[in-house]
Symmetry: C2
Subunit: 204 residues, 2 copies
Amino acid sequence: MAVRTHRTQQERSEQTREALLDATIGCLVELGYARTTVQEICLRAGVSRGAQQHHFTTKAELMTAALEHLFARLTRQLREAAVDLPPGPARVTQGIDLLWEAYSGTLSTAAVELWVAARTDPELRETLRPVDRALGHATLELYREAAGVELPEAELETLLLLSVNLVRGLALDAMIGGDAGRRGRLLEEWKATALERYTSASGA
Amino acid sequence: MAVRTHRTQQERSEQTREALLDATIGCLVELGYARTTVQEICLRAGVSRGAQQHHFTTKAELMTAALEHLFARLTRQLREAAVDLPPGPARVTQGIDLLWEAYSGTLSTAAVELWVAARTDPELRETLRPVDRALGHATLELYREAAGVELPEAELETLLLLSVNLVRGLALDAMIGGDAGRRGRLLEEWKATALERYTSASGA
């Protein structure tokens, strides 16, 4: 019976944590970083300030944990989707589609809010940077696995990072209301170019 | 004498406007949008609230005018630099360098602050969007001129917009403290790829 109670407390604690992180992401996407307050997050999560402070001491900690939380969910989705990727050249173009899906959604919006805020907020930058770096390495690793081993390491990394940065630029374009049809065409053009690089590098 | 006084007043008015816009950009870069207040801008510009309100009624108007101001300066710089671009393939790679210089500086930082803020601030979005769209068209026009006429229109636009979005993604990477060496290598890789597209499209 004591064990049962203990587990329930732990489950509750996890649920509280999850509710706070989901509410943080919701606030970032809807209100933006500047208007996101710990008070509003607690209100949306239905969690008292005391319970929140038990989990996260500062706003910066809460934000950083929210980014990790989002990223973990995204990684899971990408890992599952990557299983269905075909081998060979189609893997390159469908991989770029996956990247775009990943970067054009909630993760990108919430992450851009945090990144931009961190530029002028030393405390947030301090907590965010190591997590951000670790996430960057993990993404690269994930794509390396998903890409298979048909390309030389350096070429794979170049193709991936060019795709990531292009997609990041396009995500910013989407955030500011740029033309969706144009973004679609650019993505197709980039896939064709990436495919050419892939074909010549793999000697296929 | 009346004319002289009139001109001096007009000059003064221009100087006040310029001081307000420069202070706005300085605040955006140093403090970020959220902590940029009209009060702080007036303080930095050495301009009274009354004089400021004579020029700009709302914070959103001031922000939008600052973006136009930055952009006008950037366009001038780019136009001057483009005169020295060599013809042929080197124009493509040096053009990409110019784009990167443009997007990795103050314009990009201030513009990203405004774009991100506009996503969740309807009033700012309302004033910013038409200006942003006009600036986009003007940039495209500028690069069209600078690029010369050796490429089919559609291919030129594709190369330019892929470059712009990649460089925008890289600028975001720089804002969040990504590795500068890696950005440099990616830019070189992109120049090589762009050159190949150029060469095959121009039949050179």
